[in-house]
Every structure is written in structure tokens, then in C-alpha cells.
Amino acid sequence: MNKLRSNQIFAVLLGSAAFPLLCRTEPFTIEGIFGAAIATAVQLLLCIPILLLYRTGFCFGECARRHRILPLCFIVYLLFRGGTSFVQLQQTSQEISLPFSEKFLAAALIALVCLYTVSLGIQTIARSSTMILGILLITLAIMCIGAIPQAEPQNLALSPNDTIWKGFFRSMTTADELPLLFLLLDFSEKKTYRSIVPVWVGKFLLGSYLSVLGMAVLGSRMAKASHPFFAIVSVSQPLSTQRADALYILVFVMLCVLRITLFAVLAAHLLRLCFPKLRYTSTLCLLSMLGIAGAASKISVSGIWEF
């Protein structure tokens, strides 16, 4: 089995965590930042048992072979999360200018690409996440350059409609780094934990950066924005171009592919552990995710998909 290094785990987790931030529909608020800070601290505390468990020589693969219920639970979770990622993609794709109007085509194309990327293995995901993270950082810098002229510091005020507790609850329910970390540590050769703290700190910093920028730029329009991130980029023009938000499609698609591929690879790996003779596990996982996304669109339980 290919081994991952600590900085690769960091890049994978942070890249995966960035996608839901881009697809977020709730307004950014100062209370949300504080809530996210508390959620970060709580998650850091919750990861201690995982680290201690792996330090004792725990191997998830062996445990999964003996007790199938554990990997099955993870499989269901991963498929559910992958399906919600497709739902987020579908909802957010209405915000960005896609050159086709057919429903689900964006999800189908992403799934097609993921079908290929999943076949390349976890090591490839880890390597590519480093590069995708670099693209994300460059994008954020460009966004900052474009947003600064539009920013009004006096817009940074407390929100009457949000609370720290709501922000905390929101951050905890959207976080999936802990289960992913639990699975990814099994691929790590040395159980080094230098990468652990930067993951949550990085996610918090990313969320805070988008929050502060969004509030300063959008001001009162934040409440009306269906997708605050894309509302920010639609008004942030780094050059004299008219609307530069189409450029952010690149980082959006990259992060989406990374996240869905990660879920699919891990789910397929667990499926193979449980059912070694099962073939086409990657395809099955992706189709299941698409099925969950399709079912969600039929049921239209939008409250659930706020996750």
C-alpha cells in the first residue's frame, strides 16, 4: 500500500475542506468566525483519541477485516458525504456561468473525471492535492487584490441574525476532517502528527479570511447572496475586466474533483476490504453518490443538504 506523508495528509484534508466553504449558502458573520474557532478547538481535542489509538499500533485495515460493521459505517458515511458534495456542486453550478443548461450534466461530467482519477489511487490524490492547494492560494490572493478596493471596513459589524452557538453548530456539522483523518492515518507510514494541527488551523483561517473579506465587500448584500463566495468574486475585479468570476470555475472544479475522488477512493478501498471479490468498486461508489444526489433532488429536503 502506498504511504502518505504528513504534509500530504494536510494538503488532502485542507483541499477537501475548502470545497464546502466555496459552496456555502449561509452568510458569513463575525459570530460565525467565533463559532468556527470554538469548533476548531473542539475538533482538535476530539482528534487526540484518534492519534493515541494509532500510536498504540492500531491498523484500521486489519480491524476492518475482522469487524465489517465498522468499515460499512464508514462506507455509508463516505457515500453520503460524496452525494452531498454532488448536491452542493449542482446548487452552486447555478451561480457560475456554465455553458450548458442541462440539469445534472455538471455532476455527470465531474463524475466522469472522478471515475478516472479514482483509478489512480490515494497516492495520486495526495500529490495532486499539494498542487491544488497552491492553485487555491493563488486564487485567494487574486481575490484579495480584487476585493480590497471594494472593501468597506465599517461593514464588519455583528450580525443580528446569527449567534456564536449557531456558528459553532454549523461548523461542527459540516466538518468531516475527523473521519477522513481516521482513515488516512491508516495510509501513513510514520504516525507523525505534525500535520494535524495545521489542518484545522488552516481551515479556520480560510473560513475567517473569506468571512472577513465577504463582510467587508458585500456588507448588507451578504444576506441576499445565495452563495456568498461567488457573490464576493462577482464584485472583485483584479484587473479592468468586467466580471472575473468565471475564472474561479477552475479552483471550484479542482476542489470538487479532489473531494469527490477522495471520498470515492476511500469508500472503494473499504469496500474491497469488506468484499475482496467485489469488482468495479470505484464505479459502484461513484454511482451510489450520484444516486444519493439524484434522490436528494427528488426529495428536495433542502434542510438536510445545508450540510
Binding site: 502506498n2 504511504k3 506523508r5 504534509n7 500530504q8 457560475i96 456561468s97 456554465l98 455553458p99 450548458f100 455538471a106 461530467l109 465531474i110 473525471v113 478516472y116 482519477t117 489512480l120 489511487g121 497516492q123 495520486t124 490524490i125 495526495a126 500529490r127 495532486s128 492535492s129 499539494t130 498542487m131 491544488i132 497552491g134 484587473l239 479592468s240 475586466t241 468586467q242 466580471r243 472575473a244 468565471a246 475564472l247 470555475i249 477552475l250 471550484f252 472544479v253 479542482m254 474533483v257 479532489l258 475522488t261
Partner: protein, 489 residues
């Protein structure tokens, strides 16, 4: 049937009887007019000197071998003591060996050796006095440098070996010769620094070469697929070079080189993606300038691959990204275009590829005329007639010229450029992003004997940045000797 008989004869050992030997040799070589057999008496014993016409210098053979050998007079001559006398007391050439089978005999014969068979001896003495025509060492084509050396490999493996040895006088430089190719019997030379190279890499390469069952090896491209780990990778995981200085630099980093007789290209294993942007000139310039040039190359690669696709995507699907003046220029230029923008772009690119291929294959005398015709027809008449718009031509020209900056990636650039263009025409920036994600994953999946080709970016090795993102001075580079083994996963 006859082929089988020849194969059977080749595996036989050399007979002590000269007449039988010569008969078998003539049978094996039946139909070949270049086999020369000189029968004579050597110290009272019947002997024969064989050679392949054109493979050695006859005057050299006469002066160095025939004259002295016919002067041998031994008391009580036998085949054994005649051979012992020649081996120990007569140095007809530096390169001497013995052939015990007809296969070995013909391999030496066809390599330009002179072969001495003697009645009563069950082996043949061979003398390396090759004198076949070969190209002189000259500047390599396609890997030009401004400040680097001007010599390059040629088609003779031993000359190439000498070019390496001249630069690296340490005994740690190992040059292992072996033969591959059942029909061509091509000499291959594995080059490595014994104190730098990971031993497992050598073992893996040798194992991979042993698995090969090729009849002939006529160019480096025959071997490359056997040495590449992953099928379907868009980028090379085995490098090639024509420059001995470049190969020496790679060997010092713990890589393995493979010289192939008959081709001036050496293979380098492993190859990293970032090496495609490195040239010898980078290490001759000042660090700041070399860093600037390095970044220009990275930008040129992206421009070469993405510029036509971005142009089409933005013009068709995202015109809001352009500023007003640029958009109006574009709109005016495309006003009378008869075909769609995507078709126009693909057409221009394909025409360029045709012209490029024609320029490669045409005789030099006609090449100039092709340039004029291509320039006039494409550059002037097509634009004036409105078949192609000027912005499209400009964009394509910039992309094509940018591709020349990184010739090592020419194949990948051509394929990717067309693929991105096609997908941009259909799905705009979304399509470009999708294909970009797939290409990125494909690149990251590339491995060369356990070395990820995206190192040192992914996986991240900060030490590697000193010769990737920048080019630091040699004072810093020499501190902490670097070998590629650090990137092994």
C-alpha cells in the same frame, strides 16, 4: 527450415578442425558478400583471418595483424601454444577477446573485429581494430545551448562512453556493457555512479531489460516503453539527452544512464517533470537571470497548452472576462469569419502541425520554399480573404512559439493543446478545468521506478525548490550533496 539450421549452427561451439569451421562459417554467412576469409599458414598450422568488409580498415589489419602474424615461427607449434604466444607476447590490438561459439564469433565479426581461427583450436581469437565510418562528434541538434559544451553523443556507443569518461574521471563511474536484441545484438551501456545510485534502481532496471524480448533495438524509442512504469501517462518518465554534460550531471544526482549503440540519444532514469524546464545554460547564467528564465519557461508551457483554449473559451462562453477594447477588436475580427471559432482554431493548429511535419521531412533545399509558401498562404492570404481572423492567428502563433521554449515536452504540448481546445469550444472554462484536473491527476500519477515525476513539488521537498522554483547559486547548491534517492517513495 534454413533459419532454424542457422540458429542451430550458431549455438554450436567452434570446431578444432579449420575446414569444418570455415565450412560452417560460410554456411551461416551464406548469401552475404561482405565476409572476407583469408586463409594462410601460421607457424606451419593452417589458419584463417576473417573480417567483415567495410567494418575495419584493411590497411590497419595488414600492418597490425597480417604482417606480424605471418612472421611467427615457433618450434613445435601447436594450436594451444600458438594462441598462447599471440595472447601473451603479441599485442596486435588493445581490445582482444576469445569467441567459443559461432554466435560469439559472428557478433565480433559483425562488430568490426578481426577473427583468427586456427586448425586445432576450439576457440577463435578476436582483435578489435574497428575502422567503420562514423560521424564525428558535433553539436547536438535540438539541445542547443549558448554557454554549454558543443559536443554531443554519436551513434557509436564506445565513443559515447569515452565522452562520459573524459568528463568524469572518477572510478566510481561505472559503464557496464551488455548486449540486447536477438537479431541486432545491439550494445547497450548502463552508466551510473556507484557511490550515488540506489542499488535497487540498478537491479530494477536490469530486471526490466532482461524481461525485454526485442529482436532489434534501432533507436531509444524501442527501449523507452519497457522502462516506463505507467501506461497512459501523458508525460515521459524516462528522459533522453544527446549531451554528455547533461548526462554526467544526471549521473551525479544518482540517476542511471543508458547508452545505445546506433543512436545518439541516451536514456536517463528516472526523469522528473521539472527537468523538462532545465537546460545546461541555466547553470551558466547568474542565479537571478536563470530563475527568471526558468519562470518564463513555466509560463511558456502554460501558454503553449492553454492559450488557444482560453481564447476560444473566453470568446465563446465568457466574453465578460475581456476588457471592452479587446472584445470589440475580437468581435470585429470575427464578424466575417465563415466557420465557428472552435473549427477555426483547430484548423489553424492542424495546418501548423502539417507545416511543421513537412518542414522536418523535406530536403533542406526545399525547406525555404515551404516557409515562404506557408507564411504567405496562411499568414497573408487566409487572413485577407477572411478565412481566418488575425487574433486567432496571433494567438496560435504565440502558443506555437511558446511550445518551442520547452522542446522536451513537444509531444505532450501538442496533444494537450488540441484536447484543451476541443473541450474549451464545447464547455468553456468548465471544460478546461475538468480536463486540467484530469491532466493534473495524470501527471501526479506518473512514477519512474518509485520516483514520482512531480517531485519536488508533490510530494513537497523544500530542498528541491532551490533548483526548481529558483536556481540558487552553486555555493548553496554544493552544500549537502543531493541525490534523487531523496525523492523515492
Amino acid at each position: 527450415m534454413q533459419q532454424n539450421h542457422t540458429e542451430i549452427l550458431l549455438q554450436q561451439t567452434i570446431s578444432p578442425q579449420l575446414s569444418v569451421n570455415l565450412s560452417k562459417i560460410r554456411t551461416i554467412a551464406e548469401g552475404s558478400s561482405d565476409l572476407l576469409v583469408n586463409e594462410f599458414v601460421l607457424s606451419g598450422l593452417p589458419a584463417a583471418l576473417l573480417c567483415c568488409e567495410g567494418m575495419l580498415s584493411t590497411s590497419t589489419m595488414t600492418e597490425l595483424i597480417l604482417k606480424p602474424i605471418t612472421a611467427i615461427r615457433l618450434e613445435c607449434p601447436t594450436a594451444a601454444n600458438v594462441f598462447a604466444f599471440i595472447r601473451n607476447h603479441q599485442l596486435y590490438s588493445i581490445d582482444r577477446a576469445e569467441a567459443s561459439t559461432y554466435a560469439d564469433l559472428f557478433r565480433f565479426l559483425n562488430s568490426g573485429f578481426a577473427v583468427l581461427v586456427l586448425d586445432g583450436a576450439d576457440s577463435a581469437l578476436v582483435f578489435g581494430i574497428q575502422g567503420y565510418d562514423k560521424r564525428s562528434v558535433s553539436e547536438p541538434s535540438g539541445e542547443d545551448n549558448v554557454m554549454g559544451a558543443k559536443d554531443g553523443f554519436i551513434e557509436v556507443v564506445r565513443v559515447n562512453m569515452s565522452l562520459l569518461r573524459r568528463r568524469m574521471k572518477t572510478p566510481q563511474l561505472k559503464l557496464e556493457l551488455f548486449v540486447k536484441g536477438s537479431k541486432s545484438q545491439t550494445d547497450l551501456c548502463l552508466c551510473y555512479m556507484a557511490d550515488r545510485v540506489p542499488q535497487s534502481l540498478i537491479a530494477q532496471i536490469k530486471a526490466r531489460l532482461d524481461e525485454m524480448e526485442l529482436e532489434s533495438i534501432l533507436s531509444s524509442g524501442y527501449l523507452q516503453p519497457f522502462l516506463e512504469n505507467r501506461r497512459g501517462c501523458l508525460f515521459d518518465t524516462v528522459g533522453t539527452t544527446q549531451r554528455p554534460d547533461v548526462l554526467c550531471a544526471k549521473l551525479l544526482e544518482g540517476r542511471v544512464g543508458l547508452l545505445i549503440d546506433g543512436t545518439p540519444f541516451a536514456l536517463v532514469i528516472p526523469k522528473l517533470f521539472c527537468e523538462s524546464f532545465q537546460t545546461m545554460d541555466d547553470y551558466c547564467y547568474r542565479p537571478a537571470y536563470a530563475t527568471l528564465v526558468r519562470w518564463i519557461k513555466y509560463a511558456a508551457f502554460l501558454v503553449a497548452v492553454l492559450l488557444p483554449a482560453l481564447y476560444v473559451a473566453i470568446a465563446l462562453h465568457h466574453p465578460e472576462l475581456l476588457n471592452r477594447t479587446l472584445l470589440l477588436i475580437l468581435a470585429d475580427a470575427e464578424e466575417n469569419a465563415p466557420i465557428s471559432l472552435t473549427a477555426e482554431a483547430i484548423g489553424v493548429l492542424l495546418v501548423y502541425e502539417i507545416i511543421r511535419e513537412a518542414g522536418l521531412r523535406l530536403p533542406k533545399a526545399v525547406g525555404g520554399a515551404v516557409s515562404i509558401v506557408a507564411g504567405l498562404i496562411i499568414g497573408d492570404a487566409a487572413v485577407a480573404s477572411g478565412l481566418i481572423s488575425t487574433p486567432m492567428l496571433t494567438v496560435t502563433a504565440i502558443a506555437v512559439i511558446a511550445g518551442f521554449v520547452v522542446p522536451d515536452l513537444a509531444q505532450s504540448i501538442t496533444l494537450l493543446r488540441l484536447a484543451f481546445l476541443l473541450i474549451a469550444g464545447f464547455w468553456g472554462l468548465f471544460g478546461i478545468s475538468l480536463l486540467g484536473a484530469a491532466v493534473l491527476f495524470n501527471l501526479c500519477a506518473g512514477e519512474s521506478f518509485g520516483f514520482p515525476i512531480t517531485a519536488p513539488i508533490a510530494p513537497l521537498y523544500k530542498k528541491g525548490f532551490r533548483d526548481t522554483l529558483t536556481r540558487v547559486s552553486f555555493r548553496k547548491m554544493q552544500s549537502g550533496s543531493f541525490t534523487v534517492e531523496e525523492y523515492h517513495e
